[in-house]
């Protein structure tokens, strides 16, 4: 799980072009949106693409995305859950 979270952080930094952000800057339980990363609605769409590209997971319900993309923890949990 730790490795997955580290991978997610690296993938998010790369996919979202967060050049000024280091892996260590992203806390596992910190909100991805509305926090220091300055993510916007386009970034939310990029995260959907990221999940599909790297993990083969499609998110079709926008309401579900809100919970899945809350933090690194929630993303990792969703990926490893049976429904993920």
């Amino acid at each position: 799980m730790t490795s997955l979270k580290e991978d997610l952080k690296k993938q998010i930094i790369e996919q979202l072009n967060l050049e000024d952000v280091q892996v260590s800057d992203i806390q596992d339980d910190a909100p991805l949106f509305g926090g220091g990363l300055g993510l916007d609605s386009i970034d939310a769409l990029e995260l959907i693409v990221l999940l599909e590209k790297h993990y083969g997971i499609k998110i079709t319900n926008p309401e579900k995305g809100k919970d899945v993309f809350y933090s690194i923890n929630s993303m990792a949990e969703y990926i490893t859950s049976p429904k993920g």
Partner: protein
């Protein structure tokens, strides 16, 4: 800048040219990294102009018009977007939002909170008549200054020329921006 070379590309650096200029200018605007090349050059050109003429930042938020042009629209980003879904399997939302050339005007407007007149046109080549005529029309009304630019980028060919036109006491009394002089400046 005004005929002077202020920065040269470091060929050894791992950073591309825009990132080198960004760092050299000591800018702090993380959204820069998300922009496409058109917006990056428009953003950097504007920041360089501001750094060399503080007066630009003293205008009211609706007193500066943004007037830009090129010949290839957003083709450079359009091609990258097309590649993202044809070759990489997933259309990139962050590329898609830049598949219009006038987005660069939005980036400048957001950065500086400038809400004046704005226009992006596509011409076969740099058209000094158009810039001179349109600037003079705008300056004859409520616009106090025009930030103008030709930003043409395709396949790593970059042609960027920004200029700032102010309403002065001289052109306020019918001595308009001169198309010929502008054309000579562009060719330099």
């Amino acid at each position: 800048m005004n005929g002077e070379i202020i920065f040269r590309k470091d060929e050894i650096s791992a950073d591309d040219f825009t990132k080198q200029i960004y760092k050299n200018s000591k800018l702090d605007y993380s959204k820069f990294y998300k922009m496409d090349l058109l917006s990056k050059f428009a953003f950097l050109g504007t920041e360089i102009l501001k750094a060399h003429s503080k007066k630009i930042t003293e205008y009211g938020d609706d007193e500066i018009a943004l007037l830009f042009s090129n010949s290839v629209s957003s083709a450079d980003t359009d091609i990258k977007f097309q590649k993202s879904y044809l070759e990489e399997g997933s259309p990139s939302p962050s590329l898609f939002v830049y598949t219009l050339p006038n987005i660069l005007i939005g980036e400048i407007a957001i950065r500086n909170k400038w809400f004046g007149e704005n226009l992006f046109t596509i011409f076969p080549k740099f058209d000094s008549d158009f810039f001179a005529n349109y600037c003079n029309i705008l300056l004859s009304k409520n616009t106090e200054a025009c930030l103008c630019g030709w930003i043409n980028i395709l396949d790593e060919n970059v042609d960027v020329f920004l200029f700032f036109v102010e309403k002065t006491e001289v052109n306020r009394i019918n001595s308009p921006l001169n198309s010929e002089a502008l054309s000579i400046l562009y060719k330099k």
